[in-house]
């Protein structure tokens, strides 16, 4: 295997790992805010690593530039979308989950 192939396989494996982390977080965490934390960070990192693997396969050409632009776009918009949704939820006064005994939870 050439070094580029090793890098492709490693980036794809890392991306799948962080995708699994995001899915587990969205299924298992207790409330909307913690779930959006898993969605915005883990899922963004998984998508960016996997798109990096895809970009390496094209060599130095126009498709590589397109994939890198797609990567940057995902890197900017995924956390922004999660932030906007979570802020809308906070404005609708959805209560955050807490372990506080004195609270009304």
């Amino acid at each position: 295997m050439t070094p580029v192939e090793i890098a492709i396989v490693a980036l794809a494996a890392g991306g799948v790992f962080f995708g699994v982390v995001a899915a587990v977080g969205v299924l298992r965490l207790p409330d909307l805010y913690t779930r959006s934390h898993a969605a915005s960070k883990s899922d963004t990192l998984g998508a960016v690593l996997t798109l990096g693997a895809a970009a390496l396969t094209f060599g130095a050409d126009v498709p590589t530039a397109k994939t890198v632009l797609l990567l940057l776009f995902m890197f900017l918009t995924n956390p922004t979308a999660a932030h906007a949704i979570t802020r809308a939820a906070y404005d609708q006064e959805i209560e955050p989950w807490t372990t506080d005994e004195e609270g009304d939870a």
């Binding site: 995708g19 909307l32 959006s36 996997t50 693997a53 895809a54 094209f58 995902m74 922004t80 979308a81």
Partner: protein
Amino acid sequence: MSELTPLVSDVLIGAAGAFAVLAVVVLYRVASGPTMQDRVIAVNIIGSNTVVIIALLAAAFGEPGFLDVALIYALLNFLMSIAISKFTVERGGII
């Protein structure tokens, strides 16, 4: 690198399959998430997984035309999240 070795394209297709399975798993949160925002976040994850799947298939099959589809899908996915978060709350700004 114009020709991928079979191992690399197998790895890319396997990663695409793993992301498809993860999208189906996250569908549970879309069906059962108690608030509407839970469902929107889960649908957002499914959309970004779809973008990654399309880009991986473009790389594995050597079809750069799929990348345009992935770009438009990413744009629409972002627009969906922003539009829903905007129109569920009556407020001045968007973000």
